[in-house]
């Protein structure tokens, strides 16, 4: 008989993640199971709670499957958080498989109680600015920037700017009204937020170099729900989990970037790519963030340095 899976996430039904990642994934498992697996997708936190509580909803069986940013729960996913450090990742497709492998080897305990389906990052955060120009590290001084994650807040501070917390939907208005000078946000959400109309300057790292910052995402399933499935349905879930599924998810988050850049170009916005020398300065200036992370990880009984090295190696191997 048919198994209905309650899939819960925090974005709107119009979001890239809902339309191009979660829905297609659900359609795929439906097809491969001969419609014996059916998702009932609940977007926009319809089943209650906050995005930070989503992971526990999967663990506790409030939802069967969730897609979330686990690090919204600060302090809990320290080991996995290493992929959010400054100048680590390259982009969704390039770096998501590394994240998957890293978690499998080092951080599975952080996801206990769930069956991890995939893990991924986005195409890398870009600094979008309203009117200010940033070409060098010195231009960052005193700028008010929206920070996407707790690690990014530390990075912004390390670069001499002032981090401001706010949810992504509040960003355009805040930039337009000068509450913040700009925001660190990936291209993936720039178009739905119409960020290209509000901002004039986009600061990126040189091609081939690591992105300034990233955010980790996971799709996870309640372990008991998975265990209760008959073997053939487990196989369908397995076939849509893991390294390749993570790569696909990362790719979905890369896809909107070109279109988003084109919109900005067509509006005559300025693109700033850090020079090689500048890039080195930025990396050096924010090096302390990784040190601090290592200390935190070590305080939790993990080998901070070892994990950081391992993450870097995995990322380079891709």
């Amino acid at each position: 008989q048919q198994v209905v899976l309650k899939v819960h996430h925090f974005l709107s039904p119009a979001s890239n993640a809902h339309q191009n990642l979660i829905t297609p994934w659900c359609e795929k498992i439906a097809k491969e199971s001969g419609d014996r697996l059916k998702c009932q997708i609940y977007p926009s936190m319809q089943l209650g709670g906050t995005p930070a509580q989503l992971f526990d909803q999967a663990r506790d069986g409030v939802a069967d499957i969730i897609w979330t940013v686990p690090t919204y729960q600060a302090g809990r996913f320290i080991k996995s958080e290493v992929f959010e450090l400054p100048f680590m990742t390259l982009g969704g497709e390039a770096s998501s498989p590394a994240l998957w492998e890293y978690i499998q080897k080092n951080a599975l305990d952080e996801f206990k109680g769930t069956k991890l389906i995939f893990a991924h990052v986005h195409d890398g955060a870009v600094i979008h600015l309203g009117s200010k120009q940033v070409k060098t590290l010195d231009d960052m001084k005193g700028l008010k920037l929206r920070a996407p994650t707790r690690i990014a807040s530390k990075m912004i501070t390390a670069l001499g700017a002032i981090p401001v917390q706010m949810p992504a939907p509040a960003v355009p208005e805040s930039i337009a009204k000068g509450v913040v000078d700009g925001a660190m946000i990936p291209w993936e959400v720039a178009t739905p937020l119409k960020l290209q109309e509000i901002t004039k300057v986009h600061v990126e790292t040189p091609a081939g170099e690591a992105k300034m910052s990233n955010t980790i995402f996971v799709m996870a399933m309640n372990q008991a729900k998975y265990d209760s499935l008959p073997a053939d349905l487990k196989k369908v879930i397995d076939a849509n989990s893991g390294l390749e599924a993570s790569r696909f998810a990362g790719k979905v988050f890369d896809m909107p970037a070109d279109g988003a850049r084109k919109i900005a170009r067509d509006r005559g916005n300025t693109f700033v790519t850090l020079s090689a020398a500048e890039y080195e300065r930025w990396v050096k200036a924010s090096a302390g963030v990784a040190d601090e992370w290592m200390k935190e990880a070590s305080a939790k009984g993990a080998n901070g340095q070892g994990l950081l090295d391992e993450a870097r190696t995995l990322l380079k191997a891709r």
Partner: protein, 181 residues
């Protein structure tokens, strides 16, 4: 229109027909309400400092947003018992407007009992939730404060709400017996 009575009587509402236990509960509820109100006043002051700092000195109270969120949860939870003890809940009294007072009191006793159930349920689950968060070590993003403490601080408010519901149920029943005689 009990809600109206509560609105008009303001800070002096309730107490008149309460016994010693009820007066003690009401006193505790008032103390918690004032504490909650003072916390909000404090948050107002903090926000002010943060806004002025951000605008004039490019400086904001670090983690002001998360402090606001954690404190507001605690402050709000400490308001519930007071509201119930002064008959402040929103109810539809249209259909029972012409009902005998005795019957209305019986219905209100049931309503208060449900409030007690609600308070007890939230007490239990909020505590369990706080302990679960404690175990996984969730902290606030900027300041690294433990979130479980903020959640656990809501529990006294819910305990008092459960007690208030239970007391009011008995209070209504006693009034009902009186009305019958």
């Amino acid at each position: 229109m009990q809600e109206l009575q509560a609105l008009e009587a303001g800070a002096d509402a309730g107490s008149e027909a309460f016994g010693p236990l009820g007066r003690t509960l009401l006193w505790m509820a008032k103390v918690m309400a004032v504490i909650g109100g003072l916390i909000f006043t404090g948050l107002v002051a903090m926000s002010l400092v943060s806004i002025v700092g951000r605008k004039l000195f490019s400086w904001a109270v670090p983690g002001d947003m998360e402090v606001l969120q954690m404190c507001a949860a605690f402050a709000s939870a400490s308001f519930f018992a007071y509201c119930h003890l002064i008959h402040g809940d929103v109810k539809v009294d249209f259909f029972t407007a012409n009902m005998a007072r005795r019957k209305v009191l019986a219905l209100d006793a049931i309503g208060s009992l449900l409030i007690a159930v609600f308070g007890a349920l939230l007490t239990w689950r909020t505590w369990v939730g706080a302990m679960a968060i404690r175990e996984v070590g969730e902290t606030s993003p900027i300041l690294g404060w433990p979130v479980w403490v903020a959640q656990a601080l809501m529990v006294p408010g819910f305990i008092l709400l459960a007690a208030a519901g239970l007391y009011m149920a008995c209070h209504h029943l006693a009034a009902m017996r009186e009305a019958r005689q």
